[in-house]
């Protein structure tokens, strides 16, 4: 084997090992949350603050995204359904697609982009300016104060934001129908409600609790492990978005399989 092949293999092994170490570190960081979350002191004031910062301030962006998602989906799907004489199924199709899949995933990805990077940058900047050390020497556990509060806030707020985006997406679909075909609102929403079952809503909204956890944990992990000054803060923010988005999609795939296995494919 040539020398360059050996050094390439060594480099690959080093990279694989470093990735595995990072996966292990994030997993341990994530598990640490469960050790802290039920144990006092509870920082409810911080949780309330983050619910506002991370959740309420995402609403304007999510309003636009939710409405446009429903509009586009309806406009793109209607001609195809009409070709098969199934235009009347549009409300049911939209409701199922949005509630089961698009609503939760799009909401999580948008919140990940806004919030995970924000957490990474904020906590990272606290790390490089010794504010985390300052918390620690003042006898306050930084993990509890900075991480647990943000992860709890993300996990609580994401289901609510998802329900909001689901509604707006379905409403956006109605707007498209109303603009194009002057559809009746009562008829549209009656069909939407008739098509949705418990098995569609609960897994769809429920999985966003896990997405919220991922957004919070990955943002906080990147921030907590920031090194190399302001350059490191930027890197923490970017890496947080990328890792959170990838993990959301990966977890979604697993949850879909589990849901199908446990609850069946639905009607």
């Amino acid at each position: 084997m040539s020398e360059s092949n050996i050094s390439y293999r060594a480099m690959m092994m080093r990279r694989i090992r470093s990735s595995m170490e990072q996966v292990y570190a994030i997993t341990m960081f994530g598990l640490r949350f469960f050790r802290y979350v039920l144990v006092p002191p509870y920082e409810w004031g911080q949780v309330r603050k983050h619910l506002d910062d991370l959740g309420a301030k995402s609403i304007p962006l999510l309003t636009i995204v939710g409405l446009i998602m429903g509009l586009i989906l309806a406009l793109q799907t209607r001609p195809t359904l009409d070709r098969f004489g199934a235009g009347g199924f549009l409300p049911a199709m939209l409701a199922l697609t949005i509630v089961r899949e698009l609503g939760p995933v799009i909401t999580a990805l948008i919140v990940a982009g806004r919030v995970s990077s924000g957490i990474g940058a904020e906590v990272g900047s606290m790390k490089v300016t010794e504010q985390i050390d300052a918390l620690e020497v003042s006898g306050v556990d930084p993990f509890n104060y900075l991480v647990v509060t943000r992860v709890v806030a993300c996990s609580l707020i994401l289901p609510l934001l998802t329900a909001y985006v689901d509604f707006l997406g379905i409403f956006g679909g109605y707007l498209a129908e109303w603009i194009s075909y002057d559809s009746s609102m009562q008829l549209y929403f009656t069909e939407v409600l008739q098509s949705l079952e418990f098995n569609d809503i609960i897994p769809g909204v429920g999985k966003t609790i896990a997405f919220g956890y991922i957004i919070g944990i990955i943002g906080a992990y990147q921030g907590f492990n920031t090194t190399r000054g302001t350059e490191g803060v930027g890197r923490a923010a970017t890496t947080a978005v990328v890792l959170a988005s990838l993990n959301i999609i990966f977890l979604d795939m697993i949850i879909i399989q589990l849901t199908l296995l446990l609850l069946g494919s639905g009607s």
Binding site: Q131, A134, D141
Partner: protein
Amino acid sequence: MNQPQDNVLIDVIDVWKSFDDLHVLTGVSMQVHKGSSDVILGRSGIGKSVLLKSIVGLLVPERGSIEVMGKQVMGMKPGELNDLRKHIGYVFQYAALYDSLSVRENLEFPLRKHTDADDEEIGERVMEQLRLVGLEEVVDRMPAQLSGGMKKRIGLARAIITRPDLVLYDEPTAGLDPITAREISELILNLEEQFGITSITVTHDLECARVIANRIYILETGAFQVQGTFEELKRASDPTTKAFFQVMA
């Protein structure tokens, strides 16, 4: 002068600390007595802050022993360490004010976490603290709106607001003009005399050391090479101290 052992607030014995291949502390020992103001002098990057952070448990040395107020810091459980830290104030090099909180909230923070004081009491304490450092007018400003000197003063006020037994200062005058640096040094001296605080100050500012130090340690090549009062070190004949005083002068 020999002081009784029960008067020792900090006892550092043969502490070693490395970062990968870089050996920063190689057998540091020191004793700080109650009411004393000790200063660690040394060049930048020599390990002064590493020692300070080891004393408060932010860094864990590989070898040695660090006792603070009679308790062994190394190997201490997090809960016990947090309890011990309630008796210690720490002034960071760049103040480390919480930048999402106003000056008032920064000062309220330790009181809300560690005392049962009500809002009125906390408010009075904050204003009293700001009066001590001469910055009452900035109470509702955010840290980003403060100058470097103001930040240092607020950091100092926050560190002593719970009236700790011990305060650790990490480069309290770094990055300040000579006049502001002098004011900060005198403020430290006044507060220590007023509240009977024991302190360790890490600095490379000889003027600051002259103003506040009862005893000075010079850290060089991982350990304390020389120690004594300012006047003793000024007259010292060993090359390290001599060079240090000449350059700084």
